[in-house]
């Protein structure tokens, strides 16, 4: 079948496609954004105590790293479909994607938090203790701030990976930018129809860049001392 308007299938028509389906595309973008961000935040909140545990008690570290490594080994599409039976959810529950992504984020960030905390020099810890920090205060006001650059580096990896993994959920019918690829694929049965595919790739890359930039900004705001000393 020949498309009525041949120009509309040109890859450069993605902008026109976006304008034509604005509300739907912005909805996908919004879904994609929260699916990329919320699991990383959840993952970080879980990884902080777990990372601290694996530093505090040496025997926790090896099994913790084995378990998180194992979780990270499971392909995303498999984890998506395995989460519901494991947790007793419906086979296509809206929760399964954020839960699976949180699992990946925890798996990645536990190691990062543990390594970041481990990089704090013993002299610093002793000095902090000597000037009167209690263990909890020392953790939040000395160890954690010093580990921030390492942790945010891990957050960048996690968030950029998430943006890509979320599109996989689009292929099994969940709403996000991955649906644009699905639409493009289904509209291309006879002749290629590029606009939604190109639009999806562009929006994914832009989203990854923006989220990455935001993490960098947070890192900058949380570590003012690194700007004070020229390196």
């Amino acid at each position: 079948m020949i498309p009525l308007d041949a120009a509309s299938s040109s890859p450069w028509h993605f902008w026109g496609y976006f304008l034509d389906h604005r509300s739907q595309d912005l909805g996908y973008l919004w879904d994609h954004t929260w699916l990329s961000v919320v699991p990383v935040v959840v993952g970080l909140l879980l990884a902080l105590p777990l990372g601290w545990l694996s530093r505090r008690y040496n025997w926790v570290y090896p099994p913790m790293m084995s378990i998180t490594g194992l979780l990270y080994t499971i392909p995303s599409i498999a984890l998506f479909v395995l989460i519901p039976p494991l947790l007793g959810l419906d086979p296509l529950s809206p929760l399964q994607v954020p839960i699976a992504l949180s699992v990946y984020s925890v798996a990645l960030l536990v190691r990062v938090v543990a390594d970041g905390l481990g990089a704090v020099s013993p002299e610093t810890l002793q000095a902090a203790t000597a000037i009167g920090f209690k263990p909890l205060g020392r953790f939040f006001r000395v160890e954690l701030p010093i580990a921030v650059p390492v942790i945010t580096a891990g957050l960048r990896v996690a968030i950029v990976a998430n943006v890509s993994i979320v599109t996989v959920a689009g292929t099994i019918g969940f709403d996000n930018l991955g649906r644009l690829f699905d639409e493009g694929f289904k509209l291309s049965t006879d002749t290629p129809y590029y606009p939604p595919i190109i639009l999806g790739i562009i929006l994914c890359v832009l989203l990854a860049l923006v989220l990455d930039g935001l993490v960098l900004l947070v890192n900058r705001l949380l570590t003012p001392w690194r700007r004070a000393v020229p390196t």
Partner: protein, 260 residues
């Protein structure tokens, strides 16, 4: 539901291929075939290139460029290439889908192998390299007899993560009508046959875990004991440090530029 999955998996008719359906064994073979082709091509490209870049410190921008590819959503890349390439192939073969899939798999596998190989060679202790030159080794001798064995743990961890990524993405290739274990996931979804879908997920996860385990074993027996610190019990007088997990090396390597 778990019982349904178990009975789906234990049904022998699901394992054998018939004239109408490809069974689990057949799809497993297809999955492994697509993955192996992509990994071999990626190794042939990325390993020599990585060794050369790491040894000469030239053209390091290639590593950054390869890493930039990682930011592209693999599903989007796959669909785009299928839409471009598939219409050029007519007939009963699935060549029009295999070629774009292999391109995407190779593109995904190259960055981890390349950046880990470069990092592995560059991270070799300066003193070790200087000693090798001082003993009169030529450049290629230093590369192949000193730097490569020393870089082997990192090269292996790069290959392992490339393998996992290829296995995972080969699953998604079923979405663009190709064979492989992902077939069960997407067919189960389309037919609302959830035991089949979940069984597919289980099979893919098992394949990934088993392959990673096999590669870990292979790594154990190819990396020199002098590098891993894994020594025979009789040799181990005084130090009992275990081999460092290669994954920690690759992660810190990934994070190093930002953390610095």
């Amino acid at each position: 539901m778990i019982g349904d999955v178990f009975s789906w998996l234990s049904d022998p008719t699901h394992w054998q291929s018939t004239n109408f359906d490809t069974g689990i064994w057949g799809q497993l073979g297809a999955h492994l075939r697509y993955s192996a082709i992509a990994l071999v091509i990626a190794l042939v490209i990325a390993l020599p290139l990585g060794l050369w870049i790491g040894h000469t410190n030239k053209a390091t921008w290639i590593v950054s460029a390869a890493n930039a590819i990682r930011a592209l959503p693999s599903v989007g890349l796959l669909v785009l290439l299928v839409v471009i390439i598939a219409p050029h192939f007519y007939g009963r073969t699935d060549t029009g889908y295999v070629i774009p899939t292999e391109i995407v798999l190779v593109l995904l596998a190259i960055p981890s192998i390349l950046s880990n190989t470069v990092a592995g060679v560059q991270n070799v202790d300066r003193a070790v390299r200087d000693a090798a030159y001082g003993m009169g080794m030529t450049g290629p001798q230093v590369l192949f007899r000193v730097e490569t064995p020393n870089a082997l743990p990192l090269i292996f961890s790069g290959f392992r993560s490339a393998t996992l990524q290829v296995i995972a993405t080969a699953t998604i290739a079923s979405y663009v009508t190709l064979g492989g274990l992902g077939r069960f996931i997407y067919d189960g979804l389309a037919q609302q046959d959830y035991p089949q879908m979940i069984s597919g997920g289980l099979l893919v996860a098992a394949l990934a875990l088993i392959l990673d385990l096999l590669l870990a074993l292979l790594q154990r027996y190819t990396v020199s004991r002098g590098i891993t610190g894994r020594t025979r019990r009789s040799d181990r007088a005084g130090h009992s440090d275990e081999a460092p997990d290669p994954r920690s090396a690759v992660l810190t390597e990934d994070l190093a530029p930002e953390a610095a």
